[in-house]
Amino acid sequence: MSVSSATEVVDPVPGAGAPHLPRQPDLVQLLTPEGERVEHPDYAIDLDDQQLRELYRDLVLVRRWDVEATALQRQGELGIWASLLGQEAAQVGAGRALQPGDTAFPTYREHGVAWTRGVDPLHVISLFRGVDNGGWDPVATGFNLYTVVIGAQCLHATGYAMGVQRDGSETAVLAFLGDGATSQGEVNEAMIWAASFSAPVVFFCQNNQYAISVPLERQSRVPLYQRAAGFGFPGVRVDGNDVLAVLAVTRAALVAARDGQGPTFIEAFTYRMGAHTTSDDPTRYRLASELEEWKLRDPIARVKAYLSRSGTADQDFFDAVEAEADELAVRIRRGTTEMPDPPGTAMFDQVYAEQTPHLAAQQAQFEAYQASFGEASE
């Protein structure tokens, strides 16, 4: 298949008219790009006004964090940043579907999920600044560390879920992956294991259409959610820019997992509106018109439209969220620029639970070498 087929315009169903967006009823949608609430035969959601406003607040704050981080990278404060722009609804929806006892296994782009798990944005930023290889406490937050090797975390999630099963715990595990990762052997192994052991794990795939520059067509001849059938568990495609639908679909899958019904594969159909990372140049592999089409399906604009139209929120609320976002940006900026470098000896810390005599000697050598400069300058 050629790239051009990826940009072909399909039927202009409301909210599903532009490139890539599949026709109904393949796609679970509860809030259209225009901000209209619609019903779906299999998935329902009933949120009160406060909960709806909270979701909007999450989306706005997560985007502001992301925009600020991209700016910090451009100014040389971060080594790199993997932007989630356009994927806020997929991540906030999935993250808010988790119960406190559940555990998430992210890739390296799940800042929105990190937000819902209470991870401090500055801890995530410390990784991209090069201060840390991890950054937060995965046990206390129930949000595992970012995994950079594509798809490796899907096996960790599955193994963790096997442990949950053995513990008799009624919690579930949410494994994140992207469209490119579905080509990885380890991801396929994870789905085989999850199915064979009926592990309480949900595979949440954000299909953002590109693996850096390579379009989905190079990864799969079939829609990704249909792959699940081959592994023997349900697959569902949800509008990844619709926070309500993502929340409803993920909640249902997690409930099934907790009930012992085994895994589900969720394909959140979305779009990476920014670059793969700040080192990438998407103008080399995709058309500007495609981005323009997806801007019309912005995950935040539709929630705002719905909140306004339904009278769930007024201008004061929107202004307050905006002010909070400004404060967050200031905190992130200040926290980043003031973040100290780690001491040189940090690289020796925790290589082992029981450090070896050899490494201890190497560390002592390093310290003596470093100290020799201090002595020389005195």
């Binding site: 840390d132 290889n133 991890g134 406490d137 995965p138 046990v139 595992n144 560390l145 995994t147 090797v149 490796a152 899907c154 096996l155 960790h156 999630a157 599955t158 193994g159 963790y160 879920a161 096997m162 442990g163 949950v164 053995r166 513990d167 052997g185 380890e186 192994e189 994870a190 085989i192 294991w193 064979s196 810390d349 925790q350 290589v351 082992y352 639970a353 029981e354 070896t356 005599p357 050899h358 490494l359």
Partner: protein, 326 residues
């Protein structure tokens, strides 16, 4: 009463049983390890006694074994993974090197990885390709992993228990062609530490180092050398990462000569590291360069050639002669 005659295979089996009785978090995972008891029968009878949740017949996917072991370790379990043959560890190499080895450091110690990776290694059994490899250098080169190799039933019995109890990930190498070698094992004794090398034969003329299956070969060579009036000191390294070189350094300072023997190809093998370290530590005592006896730098050959490929008694003695001639 506590002393039994055991093969290495049976000693491992008993060691695993004992640790599973003591710690309910210990799980065995691998291909064919349950109902069949493993292709070498190391886990024989354990699934029957400890159940399918603790002795898991896994899908045929080595990355899956290690990757799910990572998740189970995060959940507080102590997975013991069997890799059926040395040459099959490579599909799991990514998980071992990028995840198992690094998660403790990445999480600043919040996540422990007490995973044991059991690998029957080395040649000498007339097998087809990929069943006779010595992959230890790949793992010894990886920070975050520890690597041990057992050579006898006593170390097999205790070593597997010590490895499972240890908080760091350990590649545990089992000398597959010696699985049927027997020795007296006192199951009430106090074992030697896991990360310690051991002088297994005293001598004055040349220090010969080996581990795993080559320890027996080198001891036979020392026996033959003695008949010719040459006294070899033999050290079983036992721990390959970290190395415990104190007894080696003490020995080489005395003998002035050192021969390193392993089945793995010599180039960038463990012998290269040891030669460098001995040169640093014993420079003024050395009468000859550290010599290496190992596999040739070829793919492991078809089994009709493996006797030529593998170090044997004569090649060890040849190196001893060369060392003494300096």
């Amino acid at each position: 009463m506590s002393t039994q005659t055991l093969t290495i295979g049976k000693a491992l089996n008993l060691g695993l049983r004992r640790v599973m009785e003591d710690d309910a978090k210990v799980m065995l995972m691998g291909e064919d390890i349950g109902r069949l008891g493993g292709v070498f029968r190391i886990t024989d009878g354990l699934q029957k006694d400890f159940g399918e949740d603790r002795v898991v017949d896994t899908p045929l996917a080595e990355a899956g074994i290690l990757g799910t072991a990572v998740g189970l370790a995060m959940r507080g379990y102590r997975p013991v993974c069997e890799i059926q043959f040395d040459g099959f560890v490579f599909p799991a190499y990514n998980q071992i090197v990028t995840q198992v080895a690094k998660i403790h450091a990445r999480s600043r110690g919040k996540l422990a990885m007490p995973i044991v990776i059991r690998i029957p290694f080395g040649g000498g059994i007339g097998a087809v390709e990929h069943h006779s490899e010595s992959p230890e250098a790949y793992f010894g080169h990886t920070p975050g992993l520890k690597v041990v190799a057992v050579s006898n039933p006593v170390d097999a019995y205790w070593g597997i228990q010590q490895a499972i109890a240890h908080p760091d990930p350990i590649v545990f190498l089992e000398p597959k062609r010696r699985y049927w070698d027997k020795a007296e094992v006192d199951t009430a004794a106090t074992p030697d530490p896991l990360f310690a090398s051991r002088v297994v034969r005293g001598g004055d003329d040349v220090t010969v180092l080996a581990y795993g299956p080559m320890v027996k070969t080198v001891l036979q060579a020392a026996e033959a050398a003695a008949e010719e009036g040459r006294s070899l000191e033999v050290v079983d390294l036992r721990t390959l990462s970290p190395l415990d070189l104190d007894p080696v350094v003490e020995s080489v300072r005395r003998t002035g000569r050192c021969v390193m023997v392993h089945e793995a190809p010599v180039t960038l093998g463990l012998g290269a590291e040891i030669a460098a370290r001995i040169t640093e530590e014993c420079f003024h005592s050395l009468e000859a360069p550290v010599l290496r006896v190992g596999g040739y730098d070829t793919p492991y050959p078809p089994s009709k050639l493996e006797e030529e490929y593998l170090p044997d008694l004569d090649r060890v003695l040849d190196a001893v002669d060369r060392s003494l001639e300096y």
